[in-house]
Symmetry: C2
Subunit: 241 residues, 2 copies
């Protein structure tokens, strides 16, 4: 639930089509009527990640509930280029941040991965998803990345789609710079934990035919910085920037 | 004061040279002896942003004070490419974050700028500098960007060096993508506030011969995301990545 430049945008789960009526949950109804002080007939923008953005009209139902009547589509659906982000979770605030930034920069899927050297508290996928939703609301996005549950690296690799490149940021200095590689698509960017990949993990990764080892310049980057920089470079070279 | 992969790195102000003796302030002495439990003869890495990284030997002086004896240089001095970041400060945590990320990605100067639509609390330059120092300690950097005090946009422009390009991220959609422009150097990346530049500010910017208006893709980016993405792209195209 976010206001930006006077425009209130709400993410909703339901299908959006002209004339549809959408009963809001109490928190969204409270946000519109209690926090933003909107009354009957006020217009807000809604999106569900699938149907673009629509103008919707608020119809309060008593003091605590409300319905949105869907008017017309204002922004057509647009899906970002086919990039996934797979990253070893870090401290809570930084992990939330990665979810937010990946959503803004445009990825289709966010996948936390557990590696040998991953040091993380239990990760709350719902919280990550909430950060992605807030980022999408804030940034005018009509698409929401799929935020999937954390999985061990070997399981992620076992299910790997044969046509998807795995761009794997290697701390070893012998990998070519991502900016000098023509980045493949569809692709996933894999960012390891602060301690790096264990030698056996690095060996398994390098043995995969879809793997492309890259480096991100002469300075050591934190996990969150590396994730954001790699997505930006991929978008610039291969995506829709 | 940061430990990474077993290596403790300290930023110090003093000149570094073989045989120099450096009296530590109480907080750094406490960190080394109280928190990290180092005793006499322990080795740490120190850097001052000018002389590279040096190995230093701890010599406690009583329980609360300590001297570092500088042994030999372990990493030569290396200065990042000549890029400045100028940005309109945002919420405190995000502003701290921008200082941290710009340091990791490599800029020479960080300049907060006050524009018409800047909504920010008073900005604490010392806190920003502390975040830059922590990022440099953490990321193995030997250089520390100069963090300068906030200044109004017109004053920043009045003092503008004639040979420095001003890459100005424009929300207007007609500017070319940064990834499609051969980025000039030396340069500064200027990121405006969430509300964008006021029309008169945009006009003044566009009228400058050093200005290069660019866009950052089809999605709206928050200020902090835009700053990080723009630095990453500049580094990839024109810097040392």
């Amino acid at each position: 639930m976010t206001e930006r430049a006077g425009k209130i945008r709400l993410f909703v789960d339901a299908a959006l089509a002209e004339g549809a009526r959408l009963a809001l949950g109490r928190p969204q109804a409270h946000y519109l009527m209690g926090v933003m002080r909107l009354g009957a007939g006020a217009a807000v923008a809604v999106f569900n990640g699938r149907d673009g953005e629509w103008r919707a009209i608020l119809q309060p139902q008593g003091r605590r509930d409300a319905v949105l009547e869907i008017a017309e589509q204002t922004v057509p659906m647009r899906v970002p280029p086919d990039l996934w982000l797979i990253f070893a979770p870090i401290r809570k605030a930084r992990t939330d941040f990665v979810a937010e930034k990946a959503t803004e920069l445009g990825v289709r899927r966010i996948q936390p991965v557990i590696t040998r050297h991953t040091r993380s508290d239990r990760l709350n996928t719902d919280r990550l998803r909430a950060h992605a939703i807030e980022a999408a609301e804030q940034c005018g996005a009509v698409f929401l990345p799929e935020v999937v549950d954390p999985a061990p690296l070997d399981r992620v690799l076992a299910d790997w789609p044969p046509d998807r490149a795995l761009i794997f940021c290697d701390e070893a200095r012998d990998a070519p710079l991502l900016s000098r590689v023509a980045p493949p698509a569809p692709a996933a960017i894999l960012i390891g934990p602060e301690g790096g990949f264990a030698p056996e993990e690095a060996a398994v990764l390098k043995a995969r035919s879809q793997a492309v080892a890259v480096s991100l310049g002469p300075r050591i980057l934190r996990t969150d910085t590396a994730a954001i920089a790699a997505i930006a470079l991929w978008q610039a070279e291969r995506g829709d920037w």
